[in-house]
Each structure stands twice: as structure tokens, then as C-alpha cells.
């Protein structure tokens, strides 16, 4: 059977547009396939940031929960919920990120913790690392930082 060519320029422009977007998406999101079911807790007081961070995780197949303050993060962990990764902002209401991190570590939680902040400086970095995070990055959380961490957690 002879293959039929797309009829008209508009159809080929549409195909090119859709294929272009898919290629662009793959390039930007650096596709990885996780073998294990990973879970993450996102602790961020800013709604826009929290939604974006959770959706980024979701796009990689990571199940997430989100809370907007340190006290709720502590309560959730104290209730017995386990996570492979915790993302925590430095500036939080009720209980700030530094103190929440200390308390989480004091509870015996050893999972990977990624400290994030909008305004980074060496003193912020040192303080967050001293509090107990494993990695410190300036927002935004992006695939370049996240993918190696997910690969490590997945044992790849």
C-alpha cells in the first residue's frame, strides 16, 4: 500500500508544531525511567513554587505530598509517613526551614534532604547544611539538579 502524504501545508505545519513541542519537552525535562516508586515531601510556603515543584516530581513519576510550613512537615513525618526525599525551603512560616530540618534529623529521619532558597549566599548555604540538609540549591528547582538525585535514589 502506498503511504499517503499529508494533504496541504496546514496539516504538515500542525505535525511539525506538535512534534517540535514533544522534542522540546523531552529535551527540557531530561526523561528518566524510575525503576522504583519514589516519594517526596515538598515543604514550601509559596504556593506557586510548591505547585511547580510537585508537578516537576510528578512528571518523573515521583509521588509527592506538599505542606506550606515547618510545623505541618514535622507533624506529617511524626505520624509515620516515610519519604525518599524531602525538599524544604529555608524561609517558612510557623517553624522555619532550618529548625524544621534540625527537628526532622533529630527524629531519626535519614532520607535525602534538599534545602532550597530564593536568596542564596555562603552563610545561608553553611547554615542549611549545618542544620542537616544534604544538598543546597537556589530556586528554581530544575531537572539539572533533580535528575541526578532521583537517579541516585533509584539506584541507577
Amino acid at each position: 500500500m502506498t503511504p499517503t502524504l499529508p494533504s496541504g501545508d496546514q496539516a504538515s505545519d500542525q505535525d511539525n508544531w506538535d512534534n517540535g513541542r514533544l522534542a522540546h519537552k523531552r529535551q527540557l525535562l531530561t526523561e528518566i525511567i524510575l525503576r522504583n516508586r519514589l516519594t517526596a515531601l515538598v515543604v514550601d510556603g509559596d504556593t506557586t513554587c510548591r505547585v511547580l515543584e510537585q508537578l516537576l516530581f510528578h512528571s518523573y513519576g515521583v509521588q509527592t505530598q506538599g505542606v506550606d510550613n515547618g510545623r505541618d512537615a514535622i507533624a506529617l513525618i511524626a505520624s509515620g509517613v516515610k519519604f525518599n526525599l524531602i525538599i524544604i525551603d529555608m524561609i517558612l512560616s510557623v517553624l522555619n526551614g532550618l529548625e524544621a530540618t534540625r527537628q526532622i534529623r533529630d527524629m531519626g529521619v535519614h532520607c535525602k534532604m534538599l534545602g532550597v532558597t530564593a536568596c542564596s549566599g555562603e552563610s545561608e548555604r553553611q547554615a542549611f547544611l549545618a542544620a542537616g540538609v544534604d544538598v543546597f540549591i537556589e530556586k528554581p528547582l530544575d531537572p539539572e539538579h533533580l535528575v541526578p538525585i532521583l537517579r541516585e535514589l533509584d539506584g541507577q
Binding site: 496546514q10 505545519d13 500542525q14 508544531w17 522540546h24 519537552k25 527540557l28 525535562l29 514550601d44 510556603g45 509559596d46 504556593t47 506557586t48 513554587c49 505547585v51 511547580l52 515543584e53 508537578l55 516537576l56 512528571s59 525551603d89 529555608m90 524561609i91 532558597t117 530564593a118 536568596c119 537556589e138 530556586k139 528554581p140 528547582l141 530544575d142 531537572p143
Partner: protein, 148 residues
Amino acid sequence: MDLAALKTQLKNFVQSMFEEGVLDNQFSQIQALQDSTNPNFVEEVITLFCNDAERIINEINRNLGYQNVDFSNLDSYVHQLKGSSSSIGANRLKLACANLRQASDERNKEGCLQALQLITCEYCLLRRKFQALLHLERSIVELETNQK
């Protein structure tokens, strides 16, 4: 205007926002997260961001209206606005926040007021452009729906 032409117009408009430094690559990543399971994601995030940004800018304005400014409270708001700006790819707004943060660190009220003016300008510009972007997106969706 036909569908392909509208899509080209949208693409060129977003490109111009990158070239002007209004947006950076982080916005491309947000666009990439939109798919058939989240068809309105970009609009939802922009709406969320704008609501939060306006609230924060109003709070900063209110704080700077006091005789004795609570700079640590101010710092918290700046941190939040810078964080959401950088997360959505609002490059110039993010940079304007850095100015305010510096003035706040220096406890320089006059500097903070000037920096806030710049933030307000950059935010208004961004909001106008986002509104135009969303208008184009909605037109595209409407045309696509009509063609089905």
C-alpha cells in the same frame, strides 16, 4: 487568523519575552510540563503566580509605609516573591527583587522604596504580557475545539 498562524504568533510572542529578558528558560520548562493531562497548566500557574505576587507587593508596600520598618518581615516577603519569580521564569522581576533584598539587608528604607517602584513596574509589564500570552493561548484552544 488560522490556527497555524496563531500558533506562530504565540511562539514569536513568547520568544520576544525571552529576548527582552522578561522571561528566562525556566518558563520553557513550565510550558513543557503542560500536556493533555494538564491542558491548562500554564494558565493556572500564571494566575496563581500573579495573585500571589500582587498580594506580596501590596504587603511590602504596606510594610514600607510604617515609620519603623520591620526589615526581617520585609525580607520574608522579598524571599517569597523572588522565589516564585525565579520558579516561573520571571527573570527581570527576579532581578528587581534582588535589589530590594540588598536595600533591606542594608536597612535602607529609601533604597527599599526605590527598589519597590522597580518591582511594581516590572510586575505590571509582566502581567500585561502574560495577559496577551493567555489571550493567544485561549484563541488557539477555541480554534482547535471548533475544528474537532
